[in-house]
Subunit: 444 residues, 2 copies
């Protein structure tokens, strides 16, 4: 095995490509980076002797197959819905496949075929999902091996802006897919508390955040994810009475985002009529009806039960929602209008550093004592290009590529990284790149 | 022409079938009533010399075509999604078609074919939609003919319980499709006010009701419908600056329904896990999280910002939402659990009278003066079988059947009843059945 194909050279690919090229030089591998934008691929390979860039329209079946045919291991950084076709090619052409995306039901259905062909299909091999699985599983298995019985598992992750680059009242900038931020939480969050299922509808999700103390960083807010119950079985926590997964935001964020939800600005189901002719001010007015007040701002403050000069209202005002500036998007949904506005206001500056926080809390009983282990990762980026996000998504995939290339992975079929043979070497090597969890154990 | 086919003999069919059978005797027509339940059809025809009942599974194409072939006019009381196949048969077999359902886009696309074959396809020929179109159009055209210029049109309808049969704190019982009541308002209500589009998201729809004085009945509440903007063009009100359609409820209903929405009980998008093992009390608990309070009731009161003994809380309590009684529905959505509960609590007793209220408000300028015409219909049913709802849905269709049979309708193609040749004779004859609008004109 000496050929690696990486499909996709977008902004999450840098750390992965750099890692793989470095290892390629050491182990005499050859790396092909394919993208629909050949210049983008070229800029990432950047003349490296062990790499080449190529143009690929992933919808062109023959081109795609030809590239995959020449590889031993394929890494797909494509949007999630495009993985499946690549996966089917990998089955036919007998190639290993690695992605950072959630494993779909359709992908899991390829499990038997992958196993029969001795193929490794590893999904959820990035940050979240990815490092969250690996770091949680390591601790869960340690606690169990020591004879502990887990009673609660809570796991929080946030893609944030580092304090030194934080210069807006929301204490937030886009470090990842803006659309996912605008649509976050739609549906109903489900989790387990005291052995009982709990439900938080979207309409009050951002009002039901909990304060969380992040080791070394101070207080943040966490709102519940939709998928808290999803990994109980794979984590070996089938009967745990308390389980919660959540998203970390800076203090004050959730109340202000709850206001956007309440006004109706995160709704993506219908178009605002003549939106291209409206101002943001007129859009806000369109959401008011019988609220008391002399201005749209006062009416909106009343609608969201805030004082006109509250911190939440200041955040809305900072976004420009009360400005008489044209929206200029034809027939756009409220969510799209909001996304466009935030893209501008929450843009990373070139020198801005992003920051990833992940914190797990494991409550368990050991020899009659109740304990809590808190395990925390904080990593900051270097600038707006070399982000902590790109590193934490790319490095686990890169390290896993190395493990596969060197024949160190024995498990075949469709998997996520919850097995020791995967998480142990990956987490160990991640430390070399400054990716290290700090731990604290407290008696409850 | 002397054969009429009525497909569907459910509870909305009584007034229609009785009317058509009576006229059949007078004019020597023959009426076939077809239903998947032949006994139901038989009970409606009830041995009438001009009628017969027959069994029909509407999905059996040949049976359906055979029946339609023998008719001159077809009335479909089927669920809305089944009309289209009947309509296509009617095109092929050259038969007129009448329904009380909203005309779908697909149905409108049959317009040319219907016209080419000289066929009358009339939809929205019931109460709402139906009588609302006809009664509004009559007044709109009257005002225009007198030289008035309309500045506002508001139209409200409610299927309610008559005061003498009102014996529960919600002042509401099911007189129509329960599912439609539980899902009412999902989406975003749009309307026009002062020339500006206004939007009310579902999350606050039931908090943004307006008090409306109904002539002769006192004060009710109205919440906005989704479709206020829909009929501007067909009503000839393209440039009107104020338009609102709404649903009428008794005082106090909307605040209490808003509480159900807020808690999350009207959500139909996900199943409550193990719902068959839960009590209503446990379900309510599952929607609470960090609210203060010593009991689930207190926590819910806090969640909906009510005092534990407020009128809203009393309504929830009356529904049995805090009782430790098993739900007994497996994997049901909150909306389905609520629907099942309400089916029991809001059931019409045999002797209960329902009541339909419809009120239009037309604001207009005439010779420099601002006026408002208020036109109101109130009709009560006789008992739980002979309901005002069934009369007001069935009689317009019956009268229209007569008009078609007697060759008095000249317009062909797919239509809704907004033309004078339809609304004038229908509204006139409805008066014989006690269906009459009272009017009041006030200077503004």
């Amino acid at each position: 095995m000496n050929n690696i194909l990486i499909i996709g050279a977008g902004r999450s690919s840098i750390a992965l490509i750099n890692y793989v090229l470095k290892k390629a030089q050491e182990f005499q591998w050859f790396v092909t980076v394919a993208d629909a934008d050949p210049q983008l691929a070229e800029s990432k390979v950047n003349g490296h002797p062990n790499g080449r860039s190529t143009w690929l329209d992933v919808m062109k079946v023959n081109d795609r197959k030809e590239l995959i045919e020449r590889a031993d291991v394929v890494v797909s950084l494509l949007p999630a819905h495009l993985h499946l076709e690549v996966a089917k090619d990998c089955i036919r052409l007998k190639k290993h496949l690695i992605t950072a995306s959630y494993v779909s039901k359709e992908m899991y259905q390829l499990g038997n075929q992958a196993r029969e062909n001795n193929l490794i299909f590893m999904g959820e091999m990035g940050l979240d999902p990815g490092i969250d699985h690996m770091s949680a599983m390591q601790k869960i298995e340690e606690i169990k091996e020591n004879g502990g019985k887990l009673t609660a598992f809570r796991s929080y992750t946030g893609g944030l802006i580092a304090p030194e680059s934080d210069d807006n009242p929301w204490h937030y900038k886009f470090t990842w897919n803006p659309r996912n931020v605008v649509t976050a939480g739609r549906g109903t969050a489900q989790y387990l508390e005291g052995g009982k299922y709990k439900y938080i509808p979207y309409r009050r999700l951002f009002t039901k955040y909990r304060p969380v103390d992040i080791q070394g960083m101070g207080e943040y807010e966490v709102y519940a994810n939709r998928d808290s119950l999803l990994y109980r079985e794979v984590y070996g926590l089938k009967d745990i009475p308390n389980i919660l997964r959540g998203t970390i935001r800076a203090k004050g964020f959730c109340d202000a985002w709850a206001a956007l939800v309440k006004i109706g600005l995160t709704n993506g189901t219908y178009p605002i009529l003549d939106s291209e002719k409206l101002t943001y001010h007129a859009l806000m007015e369109a959401f008011t009806s019988d609220e008391p007040g002399n201005s749209v701002k006062e009416k909106i403050a009343h609608l969201i039960r805030e004082e006109p000069n509250s911190e939440v209202m200041q955040k809305l005002e900072w976004l420009g929602l009360f400005r008489k500036k044209k929206i200029n998007l034809p027939n756009a949904t409220p969510a799209l209008i909001l996304e466009e506005l935030l893209l501008d206001k929450w843009k990373l500056k070139k020198t801005d550093k992003d920051m990833i926080i992940m914190q797990h809390e494991f409550e368990y009983k050991l020899k009659g004592k109740k304990k809590c282990l808190i395990s925390t990762l904080v990593l900051k980026g270097v600038d707006a290009t070399d982000t902590a996000m790109a590193r934490l998504v790319g490095l686990p995939m890169g390290i896993f590529v190395r493990l596969v290339m060197q024949g160190q992975i024995k498990t075949t079929g469709v998997n996520i990284p919850v097995m020791k043979q995967v998480y142990e070497p990956v987490l160990e090597e991640l430390k070399e790149y400054g990716v290290e969890f700090i731990e604290k154990e407290i008696d409850l």
